[in-house]
Symmetry: C2
């Protein structure tokens, strides 16, 4: 698939068919992730591929817990209607785990390491584009507490679960989401 | 260009030909950025396109200052040899500016808003891929203090300069950088 087509057509998918995703296809998507740039080429990402129904159920429960908590803190009433049930039925969830010790010179900066998060986010974007090019729907999901998700997935406490990438054949039509024009976002110096 | 080709062939470029880059090409690259996903579709990015020699000189000086500071803090002696002179000769530098007020529910979390940074990083990745597909070299540059860079670029103090994306025709050969195998990075649950 053409790069620009993938970039423009990719959408967040929240309804998946239960058809399993081929392991080779998952591996292709992860490999696309590994070609992302990272600070000093530290490649700070790791992947946990979840297909176990039991683990998906735990992920769902953490998202629900997080929803209740966020609703209380934010007062965003629309959160009440947000359904995270697709986390139980989506065939594959890939956790993208980042290692804060694999960052650039920002490790020494006041705000702490961020470069490893940016590298992992670039890896996620490659994965979403690759999934779309391979005919899959995807979702970049972050509605969880990092430490709790780390425990669920057996991740060492030094590392951070930064994102869950849902992967599967889309069920139903994709929803088009508009963008503000690039001109309104740009200034020249 | 095929998506997977772009993903695998994109490399960081640190030597640019002085040929100017067409404004339409820059706009195509920025537009690719705007198709990135973001928390609640907040589209937290803004772009500052720098072609002014004076501003590039200031950016270069901030990178040099940051280098001296980082060398002292990190003890990484290789930093002494790191030349950031390309910042003065690269035809275009695009600053990607993020708005922390445009994040997801992570705004209410202990670590503070991070989703807007991840969305902006995804936008940068789209831009790097688009640049490659359009025959340009690019570099994701973060060797600066965010507040200082914000002042140089006239960015409101509430917003954060997250990355500088260098864009131009590559001069010289591209250096191949290896990746660890995806299998070594992956675990199954």
């Amino acid at each position: 698939m053409d790069l620009f087509e993938a970039v423009k057509e990719r959408r967040s998918c929240r309804a998946y068919s239960p058809d399993p995703v081929d392991e080779d296809v998952v591996l292709k998507i992860l490999e696309a992730g590994t070609w992302a740039p990272s600070p000093l080429n530290t490649q700070p990402w790791e992947f946990v591929v979840v297909t176990s129904a039991e683990v998906k159920e735990k992920i769902f429960r953490e998202a629900e817990r997080c929803k209740g908590w966020a609703l209380e803190k934010s007062g965003w009433n629309w959160l009440e209607k947000y359904k995270a049930d697709f986390l139980k039925s989506v065939p594959v969830i890939v956790a993208v785990v980042g290692d804060p010790r694999k960052s650039g010179v920002d490790s020494f900066m006041e705000g702490g390491p961020r470069g490893y998060e940016h590298g992992c986010a670039a890896a996620v974007q490659n994965m979403l584009l690759a999934a779309h090019a391979l005919g899959l729907g995807s979702l970049w999901f972050t509605f969880f507490d990092r430490a709790n998700m780390g425990e669920i997935l057996g991740v060492e406490p030094e590392k951070q679960v930064l994102a869950l990438v849902c992967l599967g054949k889309p069920a139903g039509d994709q929803v088009d989401i508009p963008r503000k024009s690039v001109q309104k976002k740009t200034r020249y110096l």
